[in-house]
Amino acid sequence: MERDAIKAAIIRIFDEKFEIVGPGADDNLRDAYEFDSIDAVELLHEIEILLDTRLTQAEKKNAMEIRTINQIVDYIEALARDRCLATPSGPE
């Protein structure tokens, strides 16, 4: 999945699921939009659906320090990369 496509998907999720329209790529989501830990857990669920995979507890805990859209995209890119390395034929 290309970075631009990931970013577009995340922007769409923020709009549809969290009613946050057009957040800046480096906006602090907590400060600017009251995006809290409950929202973060919901977002992780959406990422699992997006990637058609299941995140480990460690991967979820690592996500809790994420604050911006750019960091979310970085996180998803890393997840996709890890899974491609683990399963060369593609996601499970």
């Binding site: 009613e19 009251e34 409950i38 857990v41 919901e42 992780l44 669920h45 699992e48 659906i49 299941r54």
Partner: protein, 421 residues
């Protein structure tokens, strides 16, 4: 008997300085009073839930069928099931009506006593649906907010979150006595100085699970599915059971001197509350338990039975419940106070019924009339020892008792007094 002052503890006067309701007979004081005066029922055909309704015998429901405009922001909405939308709306309107300022609301001197029968059943169904659905949605199992929407104390804590309330939280969940306990425990909390004000009430959303439970127990009305407005029929010879309903009610209880000092409009005073248990069967009405509850409330209020003008009876229109309640009232009051079964207008709004019936009592206390029990065409002779309201009475109410009894053998009674300074 418990003394009115509960030993040496400080006892302060507790007044009501705000209220709001969502009921099957309307939202505003004017709408509700109009339904009472014109004898208009809020009981409608039970709408299909696509799950349980086709399996049940009862086809009637106390229905909130008008739109409610919520203006809650997403960060508040996200942890709410329908029951918390109801609860937060009446809480919001009650706080606005009370005129309390934001500094007091967040000071820790205001607490919340609010509950529901079992949280949000629709949120719980969503959880179960996840478990039984073959889809990748199962990955995350229960969502982050699903428990917050469904938990038993969801109404109370969504209220605290929305308004920044930092005082104590009481969240009773005792079926039909849920919100009367909220008011009663809130009253005691203010009376004995633990808080200066309590936002109290209860809510229950549209839910067929509760209907199914009572339907299985043969306690629901089934003979009036084609004419919903003719049921329930408290104390009537042809009553055939209760009608489940939905709604919400909130009252703001405040220490009298505090309310007086800030010039608040005082709607009434709570002067007594009692709660006990039958100590036995969890379903059958118990005359000893109910009689003792009523007597205890009168004792706490330090009044004689003859001083009570009006009784809002629990009166669900079940075969034996109404008889036992009438006998209990008759044994203590004789045929003195006028008795009305307010559920005849809107069905049994479950966890919210105590609060809604308290609010309606305040409305009629102010308006100076007593509404009749709807559908009471022929009084069951086993219930005839008390003074039923069979037609509208233009009669002032100075003191009223609100009675509620629940599955589990829980009984409550609180006494309201018209505020006279």
């Amino acid at each position: 008997m418990m003394s009115a002052n509960h030993g040496t503890m400080m006892a302060r006067r507790v007044v009501i300085t705000g209220c709001s309701a969502i009921t099957p007979i309307g939202r505003t004081r004017e709408e509700i009073v109009r339904h009472l005066v014109d004898g208009i029922s809020g009981v409608k055909k039970l709408r299909d839930d696509g799950l349980l309704t086709s399996h049940m015998h009862s086809g009637v429901y106390g229905t909130v069928d008008y739109p409610i405009a919520y203006d809650f922001k997403r960060s508040h909405r996200k942890t709410m099931g329908p029951v918390s939308f109801y609860a937060c709306q009446v809480a919001k309107e009650t706080l606005e009506a009370s005129g309390l300022d934001q500094a007091f609301i967040t000071s820790g001197r205001l607490g919340v006593a609010f509950g529901s029968t079992h949280g949000s059943p629709s949120a719980q169904r969503d959880i179960y649906r996840t478990f039984f659905t073959e889809s990748k949605q199962q990955f995350a199992g229960i969502g982050a907010v699903d428990y917050l929407k469904s938990m038993v104390h969801t109404t109370a804590v969504n209220i605290t979150k929305m308004f920044g309330i930092t005082g104590r939280v009481i969240s009773s969940s005792t079926a039909c006595t849920t919100s009367s306990q909220s008011i009663g425990f809130g009253y005691e909390t203010v009376k004995f100085g633990m808080q200066d004000a309590m936002l109290c009430g209860g809510a229950d959303e549209y839910d067929t699970t509760t209907v199914a439970v009572f339907d299985n127990l043969l306690a629901c009305s089934t003979e009036f599915n084609a004419t919903p407005h003719l049921t329930p029929r408290p104390f009537d010879v042809s009553r055939d059971g209760l009608v489940v309903g939905e709604g919400a009610g909130a009252v703001l209880l405040e220490e009298y001197e505090h309310a007086k000092k800030r010039g608040a409009r005082i709607l009434g005073e709570v002067i007594g509350f009692s709660c006990n248990n039958n100590g036995g069967d969890l379903i059958l009405p118990n005359i000893h338990g109910i009689t003792k509850t009523i007597a205890l409330a009168l004792d706490v209020a330090a009044i004689d039975p003859g001083q009570v003008d009006f009784i809002s009876a629990h009166a669900t229109a079940t075969k034996m419940g109404d008889v036992i309640e009438a006998q209990a009232i008759g044994s203590l009051y004789g045929d003195g106070p006028v008795v009305t079964g307010l559920k005849s207008y809107m069905g049994h709004t479950m966890g919210s019924c105590g609060a809604i019936e308290a609010i309606i009592t305040l409305y009629v206390m102010e308006a100076g009339f007593i509404p009749p029990t709807l559908n009471l065409d022929e009084v069951d002779e086993r219930c005839a020892m008390i003074r039923h309201a069979v037609h509208l009475l233009e009669q002032p109410i100075r003191i009223a008792a609100v009675q509620n009894f629940a599955f589990g053998g829980v009984n409550t009674c609180f006494i309201l007094k018209k505020f006279d300074g």
